[in-house]
Symmetry: C2
Subunit: 388 residues, 2 copies
């Protein structure tokens, strides 16, 4: 754990089949006006909307709605949400949905009391929050992003072909999140598997960085082994509560700042995936899986020791009598067949990317500097080229 850091995570989590009851503990802490934020309306079909509204009413809340948050929330929609929150004089923004809805709620929460262009302030210029924040709570219906216990918020600007994340500080973390694994059962398998890979990529992108000895890496190996184990069960039986609950819990701890403490991180898979997402609007987790193998195969020679450790500690590769490079390659091969087995998309062509988009995607890819090889434009082009 070299270097100085702080850790603070004030989000309260309610977990389990009865987690929604936690709303009754939380709602009295906030004023009357609640902006209820959700997506395309699936929560109306599966009954979660009715349950949440009943609890809000029982707690005497005035409900204002902001529906239609899309899987990749846009800067236009964000501006609309800010206006709605202003009109509602929202005391609490309650996001009911997946990580995108929770991300979006945070973006609204930091903008509603500012007179600025939110996209420009937070996503282009990465500015700090300078105005009063409206508290956010999340009821999670889809697992993957970890947005329920962090300050992350990704917004897409289609005009500028940019999909950018801002990581806000702990004041912007949801005050509480409701995690009921059963709320994720109605999700199509494609979305479930996509979420599983989003989790895995969050862990791997913090793992594949640095050469120091760090407790965080050991925690991540544990999380990865649990995730792989439970994913295998969930893919066969999506209603296996134990597996789905383990996946949900792993998702939260994969990206709530803990496993990055005291170490460097990479995040190039997310940067590549987000560039693909900005051009194709494809499901986030699938954009990550589609660029993963080309990227890891490209950087393996710069971080061989860590890839070899990964092969042994996570995938159970037997290292005896093999070089680090052999072990590392074997690990990626095992991972690749597992990815195919659980139904992940392994190339960007299947996500609708075309060769005509290549130049644009290369330009849209932000460069992070914590990986084993700092990517230049040529590197990015080579990885994306290999992802078709």
């Amino acid at each position: 754990m070299l270097g100085n850091f702080t850790y603070s995570n004030p989000t309260k989590l309610y977990f389990g089949r009865e987690a929604l009851d936690g709303l009754n503990e939380e709602l009295p802490k906030y004023g009357k006006n609640v902006l209820l934020v959700y997506g395309g309306g699936s929560i109306k079909k599966n009954g979660i909307y009715d349950k949440v509204v009943a609890i809000l009413k029982a707690n005497g809340k005035e409900i204002y709605e902001d529906a239609g948050v899309m899987p990749n929330p846009t800067s236009e929609k964000l501006n609309e949400g800010i206006e709605r929150a202003k009109k509602a004089k929202a005391d609490l923004i309650l996001a009911v949905g997946g990580g995108s809805v929770c991300d979006y709620a945070k973006a609204v929460s930091v903008s509603v009391n500012c007179n600025v262009d939110a996209w420009d302030k937070y996503y282009i210029r990465y500015e700090d929050v300078t105005c009063d924040i409206v508290p956010v709570g999340c009821v999670l219906t889809m697992v993957g992003t970890g947005s329920e216990m962090n300050g992350g918020s990704v917004i897409t600007n289609h005009q500028q072909k940019l999909k950018i994340g801002h990581v806000f500080g702990d004041k912007v973390f949801p005050k509480f999140s409701i995690l009921n694994p059963e709320f994720t059962y109605t999700l199509p398998k494609y979305q479930m598997v996509s979420g599983i890979y989003d989790i895995m990529s969050h862990i791997l992108e913090q793992y594949f960085s640095g050469t120091d000895d760090n407790t965080s890496d050991y925690i991540m190996e544990g999380l990865l082994r649990s995730l792989i184990h439970s994913a295998n069960i969930a893919v066969e039986n999506p209603s296996d509560y134990e597996a789905r609950s383990n996946i949900m819990w792993t998702a939260t701890w994969a990206l709530n700042t803990l496993v990055a403490k005291g170490k460097t991180t990479d995040w190039m898979v997310h940067m590549l995936g987000q560039a693909v997402g900005a051009y194709t609007d494809a499901t986030h987790g699938m954009t990550l899986s589609a660029v993963t193998m080309p990227y890891y195969k490209y950087i393996l020679k710069y971080g061989t020791a860590k890839f070899a450790r990964y092969a042994v500690n996570v995938w159970g590769v037997n290292p005896q009598g093999k070089t680090d490079t052999q072990v590392a390659n074997e690990g990626l091969a095992v991972m690749e067949s597992w990815m195919k087995k659980i139904g992940l998309i392994m190339n960007i062509t299947q996500l609708g990317a075309t060769k005509e988009m290549l130049d644009g995607m290369v330009k849209s890819t932000l460069v992070m500097d914590g990986g084993y090889k700092v990517m230049n434009e040529e590197d990015i082009r080579a990885v994306l080229q290999a992802s078709f």
Copy 2:
């Protein structure tokens, strides 16, 4: 993650060589009167006292002192501390020391505004906190108990020959803790190794319980592997910053409620160790190590599968061609030689226990019901008998 649970941990951690600077961020949040709590005065020898006092003065604080907190804080000392805090009208209790000092500060914090017998209320009758809490901050100088990020507080009553812990809720958690691995360097090796085993026992006592599949168990396997790895380095070179920092971080996460989420826990090793501690006043971690092998060998047949998993995932035992019992026993054997190698005390005779104390220790041992075998008096006697 079966069952319903909540997770909330509001403690802010400042970690690293510059962690003490965090005091400058925290102190302005509290009133003028600070009760500075510490132990036998080693912080005056190693310079930490002077550094803390300088920062308190620079922040305009009025300093009131409560020194002499012993390694196993007593109920008499607790009463004295409560009086001191009352007289000081303390706005903040700043504990500078090991887990015992931090434990003690919490015990004072929940009692100072009550007119009750604190020992009786919290440790005998396990009552909830019903009076206003004085906020606590900790500057850690010894690693092991995890007290820096939890609500635990162990107090000893010598007259009643009882050493009992109360686990307070998140409102009693330290508001902040300062974790500088270098502050632990001057500790004698015996104390360092004792702390390392306290950490290990915290993890194992949460691990060896239940037969369900749970992400928490995977996280614990990661923590254990990191701890063993870093302990081996620290025992050879106690000034290895990387190893000491990993151990410090592992200690915090071993007992800040995270790894118990969604699962049952045991805690019988602590109950046995605390009974030994009440009779011998021996160093906490060593009382745990001295009863560990007799206890685990005693319960192995009731939880063989988990002990076998432990052997493979933590100690790297090769399970091929062996029964679960063989693998489980091999794991304990490897663990036992490692414990001896790093210098742990392996029997209670060396801690000053005599056969005359046996009846009393058996009676002082509280019984927990989460382990693989719920202990009766005969079981406890057998385990303690085997610990001489």
